[in-house]
């Protein structure tokens, strides 16, 4: 009888033959980034222009629609691979530019260094640098994201050709469930969803728990605003998630699994559905996987928009068809989870590491990272940073390297003010913390968390009190209402913050916020409530002067809080072009043509329209 590895080899060879039959060595390959970011930046129009142009020129080229390679700031991205030449990546490719590229480089021999970002190759090409030498990629270590931007996420053959499902075959062929768990424990992998619990230990608890059947649930309810790691991972490489989950199911002894997906991610869900179907057809999911006798069935459950469902007990209630409200732990899901049965709950980011660990071993995995935080972590680097995108770095990389090295510093001519990590459960860290190592313990000590991986960079024009208010608006409306400290505490905190931003703050408000924070942290039932004061606590800890300016001087130093700013027209700069007056939605601006205009502060709603339309920088905010 054929072993799992032999069956795998046969399937893989067929995939290789299919891939070889559709491509020839002398054919030009064109890769286009069509993740959500690529599409939002206009990738579909670029694709259409490319297809039309190739048809018009009668060029036979293979177009591969890939996921996000991380450089979202350069989307739409188009990469051209000519036979015998390195892959060249072009950024901000509009329909016009893609037509030029076809003319000049596909038909001609000019690789257009002026439009190129880099070669996706170890070697540069003339003036085009290698991506390894770009500041954006230099200190990245793409282990989890290795396939993202390289393979067609809708093709299981592409995944197989890149050693996909080999780790699953290896697991089923030669490893006992205990060995799999030991390997994950030895690797030191910790949960990538935010809490950082040791993954192998969780698997061990679920495996040894009494009760049957056992379930596995994957948390793909990426709700943190400012975070899109899981979306990009699934959109770019969906089979890696399926492979990780199947290995985990084998390790804990589950025959049924659920992926709880976020409703706001339609593209990722569609690709995942397709991938599950392909995996079933090829025998990587379903009954008797690779002839091993192991059965595993995977179903997608779509969430319906509730942030609290990122909490594990709430998520399981939602899978069961109920309101997604958390319950006290213990019992932990490993003992009593879905329908009261032992259940393993892991994040997408955690699962994306599993096949690598099995394939390359625990030692390989743990060779990067810090003593307690092993491996790499994917972050979404966004906000007022020059290079926003998806980055993967070893744990222990300093914040400064991520923001100023990879991220290229602050966009425009502004100063850095803070970086927000960990979403609504995390905190804002100031410039003095930039040399901190990014790992679970260090960020926690500073009052923030690694969290799921959102990293929002803020410049000097961001008001930290407003940011605290923003997060409390979020947690307050997402609080499920089950426990009083969270339901009422977040409301009181939000009211206090709103008062401060409206210029009605009182001198006792900072102490009130600290007292509320202490109670909410200590007495809330689930993680949502327990961590909800973090944005407030860190902004008070590091930006107390801003709170004091709002409360005592009724002044917003960043000129954000509307009640404390006024708009004025600089008569020296105003040319009387009337543009602002014509655009003002409340007719607060008056003045004669070619004469300086005036804003009536009584009518002005500080909507900022005038400042945005003024071509002479004549609108002053003070």
């Amino acid at each position: 009888m054929a072993t799992a590895t032999e069956r795998y080899q046969a399937i893989k060879e067929q995939a290789e033959q299919r891939v070889a039959s559709t491509t020839s060595a002398d054919q030009i390959k064109i890769l286009i980034g069509l993740g959500t970011c690529g599409i939002a930046a206009g990738g579909q129009a670029t694709l259409q222009a490319l297809e039309d142009k190739l048809a018009a020129e009668k060029i036979e080229a293979e177009i591969i629609k890939v996921g996000c390679i991380g450089m979202c700031f350069n989307e739409p991205l188009v990469d051209i691979v000519k036979p015998g030449q390195p892959r060249i990546c072009y950024g901000n490719v509009t329909p016009d530019k893609v037509r030029e590229l076809v003319d000049d480089y596909v038909l001609g021999d000019d690789p257009r260094p002026d439009l190129a970002v880099a070669t996706i190759d170890d070697q540069p090409l003339g003036d085009i640098p290698s991506w390894n030498d770009l500041p954006f990629y230099k200190s990245q270590n793409r282990r989890v994201l290795v396939n993202c931007g390289f393979i067609d996420p809708e093709s299981i053959d592409d995944y197989l050709v890149n050693r996909g499902y080999h780790a699953l075959a290896k697991t089923l062929n030669q490893m006992t469930p205990e060995q799999v768990i030991q390997e994950v424990r030895d690797a030191g992998l910790r949960g990538r969803g935010g809490a950082g619990f040791p993954t192998g230990l969780k698997w061990h608890f679920t495996r040894t728990a009494h009760g049957s059947p056992k379930y596995i649930v994957c948390n793909f309810d990426e709700g943190d605003p400012g975070a899109f790691m899981n979306r990009s991972e699934v959109e770019g490489d969906p089979h890696r998630l399926i492979e990780g989950l199947t290995i985990a199911a084998y390790a804990i002894g589950a025959e049924r699994g659920y992926i709880y997906g976020r409703a706001e991610y339609p593209l990722a869900i569609r690709r995942l559905r397709k991938a599950i179907k392909q995996a079933e057809e090829m025998g990587f999911l379903g009954d008797n996987i690779l002839g091993s006798g192991f059965d595993f069935h995977l179903t997608i459950k779509e969430g319906a928009g509730a942030f609290v469902c990122g909490e594990e007990t709430a998520l399981m209630h939602s899978v069961e068809g109920r309101r997604g409200m958390p319950r006290p732990r213990p019992p932990f899901p490993a003992q009593s989870g879905l329908w009261g049965k032992p259940t393993l709950l892991n994040n997408v980011g955690t699962m994306f590491n599993i096949s690598n660990i099995i394939e390359n071993g625990a030692q390989w995995f743990a060779e990067v990272g810090t003593e307690k935080s092993k491996g790499t972590k994917v972050f979404s680097l966004v906000g007022q940073v020059a290079n926003s995108g998806l980055v993967e770095v070893p744990f222990g990389t300093p914040l400064r390297e991520i923001i100023f090295g990879i991220g290229g510093g602050i966009a425009g001519d502004k100063a850095f003010k803070a970086v927000q990590t960990g979403g609504p459960s995390g905190g804002c860290l100031p410039a003095s913390m930039l040399d901190l190592s990014v790992d679970y313990e260090t960020l926690a000590q500073a009052g923030s968390i690694v969290g799921s991986g959102g990293m929002v960079v803020m410049n000097e024009n961001t008001c930290m009190v407003d940011i605290a208010r923003f997060f409390l608006t979020f947690t307050q409306s997402e609080s499920c209402g089950k426990c009083v400290p969270c339901r009422l505490g977040t409301k009181r905190m939000l009211e206090t913050l709103e008062r401060i931003t409206l210029g009605e703050g009182e001198s006792c408000d900072i102490d009130l916020l600290l007292e509320l924070a202490d109670t909410i942290k200590g007495a809330s039932m689930c993680g949502l409530g327990q961590t909800s004061p973090n944005p407030v606590l860190t902004t008070i800890r590091y930006f107390r002067d801003e709170y004091e300016a709002h409360i005592q001087e009724k002044r917003c130093p960043a000129l954000v809080c509307k009640s404390m700013i006024t708009y004025r027209i600089d008569p020296e700069k105003c040319t009387g072009c009337t543009l602002c007056a014509r655009n003002c939605p409340v007719t607060a601006i008056s003045g004669k043509r070619k004469e300086a205009h005036v804003i009536n502060p009584e009518i002005c709603t500080r909507c900022d329209t005038c400042r945005q339309v003024c071509r002479f920088d004549a609108i002053l905010v003070e």
């Binding site: 970011c37 400012g226 969430g303």
Partner: protein, 157 residues
């Protein structure tokens, strides 16, 4: 087709277990754009979950709507990255332009304006989605121009 007939077709699904409740509600909303009161009772009967509990689930999740929507749905992202890059101004401009508050539909039934917590397109912030199409790197002016394209083209896809 009457609403009852439509519901009968939509709910002619063989899944009747309790964990089918949310998928059934999603199916109704996917077809009708909202969940009418009649559907609550139909689903209750089908799954054996009391109507009060169906209503409880329905109103717990932000995705579900109890009122019909306009021909186009505009969802303005209010995530963190969008917030620091000015999403409040985008929302304000659209509120003013369409003369509706978030959650409301214009009198001519052309547009429903909605807020969304994070669309995960943070690298292109500020972002909005019109129907299925995502638009990034917005300014208030650009957002209004995009929205107007939907009115003029009569494109509801």
């Amino acid at each position: 087709m009457t609403l009852e007939e439509k519901l009968a077709v939509i709910l002619s699904d063989e899944h009747t277990s309790k964990d089918a409740l949310i998928p059934l509600l999603q199916k109704v909303q996917g077809e009708l754009g909202y969940v009418p009161e009649e559907a609550i009772f139909e689903i209750s009967e089908k799954t054996g979950v009391p109507a009060s509990e169906v209503f409880g689930v329905l109103t717990f999740y932000a995705q579900f709507r109890l009122k019909p929507i306009g021909r186009n749905v505009i969802s303005v992202c209010l995530g963190t990255a969008c917030h620091v890059l000015g999403s409040a101004k985008i929302l304000e401009a659209l509120e003013r332009h369409l003369d509706v508050e978030p959650g409301e539909t214009t009198a001519d039934n052309e547009f429903t304006l909605a807020e969304v917590r994070c669309l995960g397109s943070c690298s292109l912030a500020p972002v909005m989605v019109v129907n299925q199409d995502t638009y990034g790197r917005l300014t208030p002016d650009k957002a209004i121009k995009i929205v107007e394209r939907y009115r003029q083209n009569g494109d509801s896809n």
